[in-house]
């Protein structure tokens, strides 16, 4: 069975591949709520990726998950540059970008920037909990 590597395509990434053949390869998931590109890789290459990162694993659908965000960034950069969705993209990242990816990933394990969103509505809801301590 082949394995898969999904890369989420946000507005910024979409802009970077606009007008290339990659654009029509973008698939929508969760009813269009998210978009992604998927690279299919042979089993052994999939395993090679997993071996690089302690948390990485295949999920129930055969997707390689829990790789560092830095790895996904590197993959996307190479996709945009090579304009293809092949195993060669993954091989290129493993061959040339791995050291830098691991360096950034080590920082990721300690701290991740908190999203800049307003959470005051939930803090307000939590002021009147239904359940109270005994």
């Amino acid at each position: 069975m082949a394995k898969f590597l999904g890369v989420i395509i946000d507005e910024k990434r979409m802009a970077a591949i606009k007008g290339t053949p990659l654009e029509e390869k973008v698939e929508s998931i969760f009813g269009g709520a998210l978009r992604r590109l998927v690279i299919e890789v042979p089993d052994d290459l999939g395993q090679k990726v997993i071996d690089q990162f302690t948390k990485a694993r295949f999920d129930a659908r055969g997707f390689i998950e829990e790789t560092p965000a830095a790895f996904k960034r590197a993959i996307f950069k190479r996709i945009a540059e090579m304009k293809e969705l092949s195993a060669a993209v993954v091989e290129k990242v493993l061959a040339e970008d791995l050291e830098k990816v691991k360096e950034e990933a080590a920082k990721e394990d300690k701290e991740l920037p908190v999203p800049d969103i307003d959470i005051s509505d939930v803090l307000e809801l939590q002021k009147n909990p239904v359940q109270k301590p005994a």
Binding site: A33, K72, D109, K110, P115, V122, Q131, A134
Partner: protein
């Protein structure tokens, strides 16, 4: 005609709820007088990292979650649990519950059978262990027999357990000396925020159900901040009941030592609470609770401790999904559902655990899977929706990946209010998931604080 309505809560497992908490300080002082030594509870370490704290088991025993178990198991009881998944009394019980201590500490304490040992937690008196028996174990053997092997349990065990399995590591890391005997909490700990409002030991849970007029209640096991798939599961599974859907949906989170990459327990309990605060399930039908237990990830074996806990709480039904409380691919992904639909003879179940002697009143609700289907326009049940290529399956690791990349999960995956609870704890811990720093600090902080209690003079050094 048989009565189809369920009019009462199921009885406690073993017939009677265990309550071994002394709330009178005068009585506590008297009991401490009988202790001959003091021991400071230490976490169980695997490669230097805390993977278990026996205090959680003492809490779960004394507050009745593990009824009818009353303490650390004797050698005969341990053997019976490992061999048959039964206590000596015949009641089903899946896991060894043990108070382990190193040879060095044992020599230092100088205690033996018949002595009472005062256990201290966070520097304060916490509980008493009435030592009934002292014996040795080979931790690796206990670990292997706890989870099973492909040879002995071919129905569901696919590969031998190894050091990538957290639960296996917990048993392998136990100290070799076991002090068996009953536990009694003599200094009631105070649950910390935010856990205090979710603390519903069996007695309190049953009182709450009665107050709310609930007789049909379904349990949802969780170790996650709930996404919309979990929510669909809870709501749909709750259509089981008697002549109407279940009165109550009880979320019971397992709180304890966790793995890197899981959500912090604080976000898990508050995330579930947000489901009712934000109105997705009415709060009068929904109760968020937790049990202190260092998850063993024993899939079918773990489902049995879940049944013990939740039946003791007064719950009548239990949702069991695919990969229930699983980690890795040691067990068949349907192992828990196999156990709860036809039994696993090699683990002592010729029939499902509700149909064997010493078994449960709680009934399983074995559920397949929910996914998001834009064509059905709903969170569809896998046995209904056949829109392959259109629906999107949920994957916890996919969702963690989104968060990791800084992408806000869409409302199709997370209710915005629930995601904001994740962000709240992200702000506090600097990280959305358990990382090394969090795990280390939480095992020092624990979930409780202990009031100051003076040691009796004869125990002061």
């Amino acid at each position: 005609m048989p009565e189809v309505r369920i009019k009462t809560l199921p009885p406690p497992h073993g017939g009677k709820l265990v309550d071994r908490v002394v709330r009178d300080p005068e009585m506590a002082r008297k009991l401490m007088q009988k202790c001959s030594a003091v021991y400071d509870i230490k976490p169980t370490l695997f490669k230097g990292n805390p993977v278990r704290n026996v205090y959680r088991e003492i809490m779960s025993v004394c507050y009745g979650f593990f009824s009818p178990v009353e303490g650390s198991m004797t050698k005969a009881e341990l053997e019976s649990v490992l061999e048959k998944r039964r206590l000596l009394s015949g009641w089903v019980f899946p896991y060894p519950i043990l108070f382990d201590i190193s040879e060095e500490d044992f020599k230092k304490l100088g205690v033996g059978a018949g002595d009472w040992l005062l256990l201290r937690l966070k520097g304060e008196p916490f509980a008493i262990l009435e030592i009934e028996e002292v014996y040795e174990i080979v931790p690796g053997d206990v670990a292997v027999r706890t989870f099973g092997t492909p040879e002995k349990n071919p129905e569901v065990v696919k590969v031998p357990f190894d050091q990538k399995h957290t639960g296996y590591n917990i048993y392998c890391s136990l100290n070799p000396i076991i002090l068996a005997g009953k536990y009694t909490i003599i200094n009631e700990p105070k649950l910390r925020e935010p856990f205090n409002r979710f603390w519903y030991p069996p007695k309190r849970a049953r009182e709450e159900f009665e107050k709310r007029g609930w007789t049909t209640v379904i349990a949802h096991q969780t170790r996650n901040v709930p996404h919309t798939g979990h929510e669909a599961l809870m709501k749909n599974a709750a259509y089981i009941g008697d002549v109407k859907p279940c009165d109550g949906i009880v979320v019971n989170a397992i709180v304890g030592a966790k793995r890197i990459g899981d959500f912090p327990d604080e976000a898990i309990v508050e995330g579930h609470e947000m489901v009712h605060l934000a109105g997705y399930i009415k709060p009068d039908r929904h109760l968020v609770t937790f049990t202190l237990w260092d998850m063993r990830y024993g899939n079918p074996i773990e489902s049995l401790i879940h049944a013990v806990i939740r039946q003791n709480m007064g719950i009548s039904f239990h949702m069991f999904g695919r990969d229930h409380a699983a980690l890795g691919e040691y067990y068949d992904i349907f192992a828990t559902q196999i156990l709860w639909s036809k039994g696993i003879p090699s683990f002592g179940f010729e029939a499902p655990p509700y149909a064997v002697d010493g078994g449960f009143y709680i009934r399983p609700q074995n559920i397949e899977e929910f996914w998001f289907c834009p064509k059905c326009k709903e969170f569809a049940y896998s046995a209904n929706c056949s829109h392959k290529g259109i629906y999107s399956r949920y994957s916890g690791s996919f969702i963690r990946g989104l968060i990791n990349e800084g992408v806000m999960p869409p409302p199709e995956i997370y209710r915005p209010e629930v995601y904001k609870v994740v962000v709240k704890w992200w702000q506090k811990f600097g990280y959305p998931f358990n990382n090394e720093k969090y795990l280390k600090e939480r095992e020092e902080r624990l979930e409780v604080d202990l009031p100051h209690m003076e040691l009796p003079a004869h125990l002061k050094k």
